[in-house]
Every structure is written in structure tokens, then in C-alpha cells.
């Protein structure tokens, strides 16, 4: 056996690829579903919290800031385990995929709120003044004038953070969610070979490279003419 063959059999053994492809594919389907759900709810909740914060009511902002700081500080794995193993003791049974979705959404929301917020406050105060002086409400000024300028600044950090958080779907493996990582590790224990994990790695690249591309496309779309 040549060195190349040995390498191939250790990491990309053809018969193992064939045997475990269906498992990995079903893992991809699960990961994609949870990732999309996390991106949608996480970003929406993050934006909503930043918008709420822009109204400047101190009593409302305090809990928002606490939530953001706590969820940015905690390792997602800790929260996932606490929710998954703790809630049933209160009589609340949430399926494992829902726990993963919920926790990662909250984590993404916390980071996204902070990014949207720094985008909002980076827009010069004169933009608010001009919009409000023509009779626009806070909400209208936010939607038509301030947010479009803020989002442009937010897209690159949001893309990075979204990818980082959605990659954490791999943590689902510890609570038995049948996503890519879970499929890959169980196939690895069964076969005693790293091939399924290589397949998992390739699957992650295949999923996340397009997300990066989407991010730069959105970035270009939000750009406007500069002198």
C-alpha cells in the first residue's frame, strides 16, 4: 500500500463514504433546518431588541442589557445542557432539537442586538434631527433613515457572528440531535475510522462557504454611492 492509499483509507475510505453518505445527508438536512431557524429568529430578535433599546426607556433597557451581557458571556454548551437537563425537572419537556434552536437563537440574538445597537448609535444624531424635524415618528425615522445606514455597517460583523453561532449546531450532538456532527461521530465509533468525520467537515464547508458569499453580496447591496 502506498502512503497515499493509507492516507485515503484513514480519512476518505470509499466504501465508508458510500455506507455513511445517507446518514451524513440526513444530518445535513437537520443542521440546515436548525441553522436557518436560528438565523431567522436570532437576527429578528436581536434587531427587535436593538429597536426597543433605541426608544431609550431605562426600565425596558436594563433587562435588555442584562440579557445581552449574560448570553454573550455564557458558553452555549452550558446553556444547552442546563436547559435540556434542567427543564424536565420543572415538568417542562422540550425536544432536543428545539432546545438547540432556542438556545442558539438567544445567543445569536444577544450578539446581534449588540451589533445592531452599535450600528444605530454610529449614525450621526443630525440624521434623527432632520427626520424628526419633518414630522417623522421615531419608528419612521428609524426604518427609513437610521436603520438603512446602520445595517450597512452591521453586515460584516453580523455575517461573522451568524456563522460562528450557527456552527454551534454541532453542540446538538451532546443532547442527541441528529445533526451532521452527531451522524459523523456515531458513524466514526461504529466504523473506527475518521472518514465520516471528514465527510462531516466537508459538509460544514459546503454549507458555510455560500453563507460567507451571501454576506458579501448583501454588503454590496447595502452600499450606496460615495464621493
Amino acid at each position: 500500500m502506498t502512503g497515499l492509499d493509507r492516507f485515503r483509507d484513514a480519512f476518505l475510505k470509499p466504501e465508508l463514504i458510500e455506507r455513511y453518505l445517507p446518514d451524513i445527508l440526513s444530518g445535513i438536512a437537520v443542521t440546515l433546518q436548525i441553522a436557518v431557524a436560528v438565523v431567522v429568529t436570532g437576527l429578528a430578535l436581536g434587531l427587535a431588541l436593538a429597536v426597543v433599546r433605541s426608544y431609550g426607556y431605562r426600565l425596558v433597557n436594563a433587562p435588555v442589557i442584562v440579557f445581552v451581557d449574560v448570553f454573550r458571556a455564557l458558553p452555549p454548551l452550558v446553556v444547552i445542557l442546563i436547559v435540556y437537563f434542567g427543564l424536565p425537572n420543572l415538568g417542562v419537556n422540550i425536544p432536543s432539537f428545539a432546545v438547540l434552536w432556542l438556545v442558539l437563537s438567544l445567543v445569536l440574538a444577544a450578539f446581534a442586538e449588540e451589533i445592531f445597537w452599535s450600528g444605530l448609535i454610529s449614525v450621526r444624531k443630525g440624521q434623527w434631527d432632520a427626520a424628526r424635524s419633518t414630522g417623522l415618528s421615531h419608528w419612521q425615522a428609524l426604518i427609513s433613515v437610521v436603520l438603512p445606514q446602520a445595517i450597512r455597517i452591521c453586515v460584516p460583523p453580523l455575517t461573522n457572528r451568524t456563522i460562528a453561532v450557527t456552527k454551534n449546531t454541532a453542540l446538538g450532538t451532546v443532547i442527541g440531535v441528529g445533526e451532521i456532527m452527531n451522524q459523523g461521530t456515531s458513524a466514526m465509533s461504529l466504523s473506527g475510522n475518521a472518514t465520516p468525520l471528514m465527510m462531516a467537515a466537508i459538509a460544514y464547508v459546503a454549507i458555510f462557504v455560500p453563507v460567507v458569499a451571501l454576506g458579501s453580496w448583501i454588503e454590496r447591496r447595502f452600499a450606496w454611492k460615495k464621493a
Binding site: G126, D129, A131, T134, G135, L136, Q149, K225
Partner: protein, 244 residues
């Protein structure tokens, strides 16, 4: 009430510092009032209280007889009747000149797109910039940006226009066109309050000069009175400084 703008007992504090210390003044319809005074005397704050961009700590502001402080007053509805022009223009950078002018027409007045654009083009024409409708702010000179900002306010048919140092961010050669537009507005009967140190313009266009120092109005009168024979020591000092 014959005055279009009436300010009574206006006070404003930031933190513990009182910036406006009891301001009373009124502006009659079609009057052009010039507000002058040293930097930091509260001119901008006073102007911003006149449309409640700044919340007064005490006092009342009436515009066209409506009490801006009354809880029942719809401040957004009133603000479109009070045009404001800023030192830094504050055009929306992500919209064309036309988009800048149509935004409030569409969102505040609920005009359909075509009608809003027709009104906006007429307003841009009034400031001599109809042909720049499709340009973004970054493609316009400072003077042109300021004229678009004036058109943005004008398009809402304000009863009064407030100008906060409209020409002080401009290169000298661009000042004339902006003052020209303001002169046209005056000729068309617009009521205006102008914070500015354009003395030549004040002399030949202003009906009245208001001099502010340390958050109070310490002197007011015709341009000839205030510039020619100032009474208050602070005003005398200021005018002497200006005419040097």
C-alpha cells in the same frame, strides 16, 4: 394671537446647568428675525426648543396659536409646519436629492409617489436644483446640499422656517446661493428665524435682530438699532468684534 411663533418663559437645563434662563420672544407672520450672540449662548438650543427637538425644562412655545407643550398636541403634525435647516445640512446620504425631499411627503403626509415627486421637484426647482434631483448628497457641493435641505423643509409647506447657522459650514463662494434662496423666501412672505452671523444679510433682510448672551435675550431691535447703537455691554462688545 397675531404672532406666528411665541416663546414664553423658556428654560432649558442640561444636567444641572441651566442653558436657557427664561426666554420670551415672538415672531410675527412674515417677519424675519435674526438671532445673534456669542458661541455657547444658547441660540441652537433655543431654536431646537421651538420644534421640541429639545425638550424645554419649563415654559411654553406656541406655533400658529398651538401650544407645543400641551399633551394633546400632535408634535409630529406640528413639526412639518415648522421647517428646520441645520448647519450640517443633515441630508440622508442613502437617498437622492429627490428621495430626501419626498420621504416626509410620503411618510408624514401619505402622498402617493407621483404626487410626492411632483411636489418635490417643484421644491427643488424653487432652490434652483431641479436638475440635481437624481444626485446623491455626496455628489453635491455643500451649498447645493443646503439648498436641497431647504427644499426638503419647504416641500411640507411650513408656516415658519428655523435656520441654525445655515451658511457657516460653507465655503465663502457657496454662501451667496443659499442666502439668495433665503432672500426669495422672505420675498415670498415666509416667516423665518435665522441664527447666523451673516451681517450683510442681516442688515438688508432682517426685520429684527435678537441678541442672546448666557441663555437670555439681552437686546433686540432693528438692524440699525442693534448694529448701529447697541445698548447692552455684551452686545456692544459683540458688535464691535464683528465689525472689525
Amino acid at each position: 394671537m397675531s404672532s406666528l411663533l411665541e416663546v414664553r418663559g423658556l428654560r432649558k437645563s442640561f444636567g444641572g446647568t441651566e442653558i436657557l434662563r427664561g426666554i420670551d420672544f415672538s415672531v410675527a407672520a412674515q417677519e424675519l428675525v435674526f438671532v445673534i450672540g456669542p458661541s455657547g449662548s444658547g441660540k441652537s438650543t433655543m431654536l431646537r426648543c421651538c420644534n421640541r427637538l429639545e425638550e424645554p425644562t419649563a415654559g411654553h412655545v406656541f406655533v400658529d396659536g398651538v401650544d407645543l407643550m400641551a399633551p394633546s398636541t400632535d408634535i409630529n403634525a406640528m413639526r412639518r409646519r415648522i421647517g428646520m435647516v441645520f448647519q450640517a445640512f443633515n441630508l440622508y446620504p442613502h437617498m437622492t436629492a429627490l428621495g430626501n425631499v419626498t420621504l416626509a411627503l410620503r411618510k408624514v403626509l401619505g402622498k402617493p409617489r407621483e404626487e410626492a415627486e411632483a411636489i418635490a421637484l417643484a421644491a427643488l426647482d424653487r432652490v434652483g436644483l431641479k436638475e440635481k434631483a437624481g444626485n446623491y448628497p455626496s455628489e453635491l457641493s455643500g451649498g447645493q446640499q443646503q439648498r436641497v435641505a431647504i427644499a426638503r423643509a419647504l416641500s411640507l409647506e411650513p408656516k415658519i422656517m428655523l435656520f441654525d447657522e445655515p451658511t457657516s459650514a460653507l465655503d465663502p463662494e457657496l454662501v451667496g446661493a443659499v442666502l439668495g434662496v433665503m432672500r426669495d423666501l422672505k420675498a415670498a412672505g415666509m416667516t423665518m428665524v435665522v441664527v447666523s452671523h451673516e451681517m450683510r444679510f442681516a442688515r438688508d433682510a432682517a426685520d429684527r435682530i435678537v441678541f442672546m448672551a448666557d441663555g437670555q435675550i439681552v437686546e433686540q431691535g432693528t438692524p440699525a438699532e442693534v448694529f448701529g447703537n447697541p445698548q447692552h455691554p455684551r452686545a456692544r462688545e459683540f458688535v464691535a468684534e464683528l465689525s472689525r
